[in-house]
Assembly symmetry: D2
Homo-oligomer: 345 residues x 4
């Protein structure tokens, strides 16, 4: 069975695993209060060229989103997100579990726009409505698309205009930064938002995300939120160790190399499918692809390949999701393409 199921179907990238092995016997304090987390935080700051922020090593994406949002908002405030956003469709209402509404807007190819933010704000009238105070977007989006620098800038300015904070979920930030269409550096992205995170889980780590908070009110006492929202690992240094391994070398780091490789295999897959005349459910620029197959072809493919059905069957056609991972090989990609070719010729 060949996996295009997700970017987290294997363990850690060898560089990351090596670091975990090497540091395994060390004794450190727990809960992220250790030299590895400290050094990793320093590396993150160097990576983005900023020092005016808090950096927190979080155990996973959902606790990161939930802790950040809970820390940023007063109880009656809400967060605006695309209806395809991770906090809306894939976190079982964990944000609402903290009492906050996610104001879901039908995005454009998975993306929010200043106009959509205005529309969401127009629903607010006075103390009878939750007050939108935070905008949540993902770079790349859940459907693989990326915001251009111009788009990010427009959203950032809209947030400032409306006295809202901007938070960017970077679960797959690596593939956004390294994909062909990207025109935004991480320094630029950081400058446009009030908080964002660099995803490790989907970029070669066993787990772990590095959350960066610029907004001082959100940063204040943030560790209480980490613990309370279950984002704090007892052996927290494990996350620090992994980010040290990922970020070492800056633009030449494992973080970038892994991301580039995922994009490269995804591009090979996309181009191959296009050459075979496959249609796509939505346009992706990164390592998630959403081809549409007939029900029969899909069922045949499932005999050898493991992937995710993305949306319900409609008129005999099924959108699926293919994801490349740090371990995806050209051979695996080609096997898939060959099988599609056989099935659709």
């Amino acid at each position: 069975m060949i996996f295009f199921r997700s970017d987290y179907s294997q363990g850690a990238h060898p560089d990351v695993l090596e670091a975990l092995i090497k540091t395994n016997a060390e004794h450190t304090d727990g809960y992220g209060l250790d030299p590895h987390c400290e050094r990793a935080a320093k590396m993150v700051k160097d990576f983005i060229g900023r020092d005016d922020c808090g950096v927190h090593m979080m155990v996973g994406g959902t606790p990161t989103n939930v802790a950040l949002i809970a820390a940023a908002l007063r109880p009656y405030e809400s967060v605006i997100a695309p209806r395809t956003g991770h906090i809306y469709i894939h976190e079982t209402g964990a944000v609402e579990a903290t009492g906050h509404r996610v104001v879901a807007m039908n995005g454009v190819n998975g993306k929010l726009t200043p106009e959509l933010i205005d529309l969401a704000r127009d629903e607010f009238e006075d103390e009878h409505t939750p007050l939108p105070r935070l905008v949540y977007i993902s770079q790349p989006t859940e459907t693989g698309s990326i915001y251009s620098k111009a788009e990010l800038t427009a959203i950032s300015e809209k947030c400032k205009e409306k006295n809202m904070l901007l938070y960017i979920d970077g679960a797959r930030l690596g593939v956004a930064l390294t994909c062909k269409d990207n025109d935004t550096t991480i320094e630029e992205l950081a400058a446009l938002c009030d908080a964002f995170y660099i995803g490790g889980t989907k970029n070669g780590a066993l787990f772990g995300e590095a959350l960066v908070i610029f907004d001082p009110d959100t940063e204040k006492n943030f560790r209480f939120f980490m613990k309370r929202q279950c984002g704090l690992l007892a052996k927290g240094r494990l996350i620090g160790v992994q980010f040290e391994a990922l970020l070492e070398g800056g633009r030449e780091s494992a973080f970038y190399k892994i991301a580039k490789e995922m994009n490269r295999t995804a591009d090979r897959l996309k181009e191959g499918l296009k050459a075979l005349g496959t249609e796509f459910y939505s346009e992706s620029q990164t390592n998630q692809l959403f081809p549409v197959f007939t029900k029969k072809v899909k069922e045949e493919l499932e005999k050898d390949f493991f992937f995710h059905q993305w949306a319900p069957e409609k008129n005999g056609k099924v959108p699926v999701r293919l994801v490349t991972s740090w371990g995806t090989t050209d051979k695996e990609v080609d096997a898939f393409l060959n099988r599609v070719k056989e099935l659709t010729k």
Copy 2:
């Protein structure tokens, strides 16, 4: 100043006030455990011709909605509502404050449909998404429209098909039941849902709503939810006394008479405005009207009349809301019509 601000801008209808005065010196137990609440509950059961339900005297609409929804759902379950529903736009996220998502769907003239319920359900995949388990609608809707018996039946059947409960917010139930277009009796409405309430606040009471729960799992230990969600009044008998006064006489009761009168004055206002060529923002069948005036006309009207701007100005035109109340007189209606006539001729 003449008020078309809301259906709760005056105190109680004289019949209700009289009952409060007459019973004022009585001693009873608190928190709704008194003979008046007991008798009112019995009257509600007779009113709907059902005995297999709990009836609770609640202090207001928001605690009623919140307590009912909190009691009906497990933590990971969500409620589907029209985007114009009261729980979405006018309760400051009180439902989300209990941890539940309100899945907001763009309704058709303020109404949900079976198709919209299907769409909302399609967002659910597995344990990564909140599970829609309750459908919330209002009769009449927030924009004055009413569901026909056929529409209510279709929604009710869709809920059963999808193993969901149906809850009907009846804050203004009286005007729905007594408006010209209505084809659903209260017995029929009750038979189609798992819970609903008969609104008092907007139908001549000082405050108070009579909540009826058919679903036994929701009814179980419901008084804990009443207290916890701030819907339980210390002098709870006040609500019982008011519903006794409102419901006495069944179809000839004050409840129906007040509602009919609100519809009558609203109809007079609507017909008058139509005759003057006024356009409307949305079609209403009950005691809320949504005419559109030019900014200038609206500002002139505000000198003598108090009403609510409904939506932002657009191209110089402003949708407003006019509501008739138990005390609205023909004279007040005619004064408004005359002024519009002067301003628009």
Copy 3:
């Protein structure tokens, strides 16, 4: 049946009812945005001789406590209260429903002390523990005792020392201010805390409490909390009207007169019971008394009198609660005393 069940077993004091009748036909805006609420707030400010505060007309005690606490605390902060405090024993965990811990301390005759506050604070270590940030006390306590000025001052100073806010639940504030043992004026009490409320429900109103907030961070956007925590009444002016009636006349107001009368009949009852050799479960200084009867005497008394059993039977003895209300008469008190005399001679 004669009621010593609670201080809210009848309707409104005649002065309050009169005001409601007189203003019933007036049209005003809803949700407390009306001239009566405005004037009542001004009267409260005059009453306490302060202008640097927000005053809010709340529908009942539980939503008042919950909204205030939710507004005062960040999510990870907790409130310290006596284990007999209303928020701990009589609100069904409504405070915890907003996510905040109530740190319950075994009080001394129902009262907190600076030492108990220190003990509660010592449980706090770092971000692994909720941070106590608010102290909740009631004046009088749930068991009828009152804090002296020296005790209130010591608690207030302890709060300042520990960077905590002090909130005083004044559900029965009237009887505290007017009882024989009291040495604290309302101005002094106000000066010692960050928020408190003047209880209406238990002091002659149909319902309603006047919440006073000095802490500016808590006051900011407080109306969102009122709505979200179900403390905002649609016909909010009803609370304003009642407080106008209660507070008119300052020290000679109905508020003080009603409270004094409740204390007078309670004193008559207490002295009478003491003369009959009745023992008491706890010492009260206000209108709640906690005599202990044998099971047999208690059951005999229940044939003519309605009251509350306070604690489980122990060794054949049962602590009960007797409460005098605005309508309690000397005749009712004497009837009770005579019956006890007959049963215990």
Copy 4:
């Protein structure tokens, strides 16, 4: 620096690390839906000799406690715990964040008793109080003591009598099961409760806890709670892999060996300290010790050893906590004992 800071100051026990390395390149589905988690769950069931339960691989102790408690309780229900329990003192109110009260009782040497449970239940009266429905205890307790079989049985029977569930936090279950004083097998412990977990983090894993749920209502749809309360890891198989490594071999497994070794070094430390005349703050039977040193001795020790101050200094004496870990050596223990000897002779 020698660490007696915690039982999680190093990485994974070599057996566990080896398993992670060996399986690193495998592709599996995410979120615990993989063959390793399945096999680990089967091994847990064999380990306890039961098949009528759900077994879930959770990322850490706090999400385990929170998800279990949230799944077990209706919103108005509460959990009884010792005041030293982990959910009360070390989880930042994460349980209260789900809306549930933790009813904290002053335990006896860190332990609850049937009498304390009765006391907590006596606080419950009716719908004005949260309803205690779950009892939370830890085996061993936070202060290192263990419940005897007789004590566990008595608590279990009390829970049944009062219609409450019993949940046992087994963060350090290994050392309880293998300490000298223990008289309860894991099969017996499992039979006495409705849910418990086998702790991995503090018993040689990088992280991970295996939660076992017998109560069918709690088990139903539990995966929603795992995700919603941030206890579900994307690469969930990592927890399965670790528990496979830990539990392989039953009574001869790494799980037991690691635990025994932690107890052995702790006993060596305890006996050594006793021989030196050190007094203890509380009696421990497992791998956490609570000696009391003078302030001066404590400060000297801190130059070479890293440990945790347990309680505030009192009269010049400071209780500290020493914990042995899977990697603790006799040499480290003896170094500590020698230094104490030098400092206290």
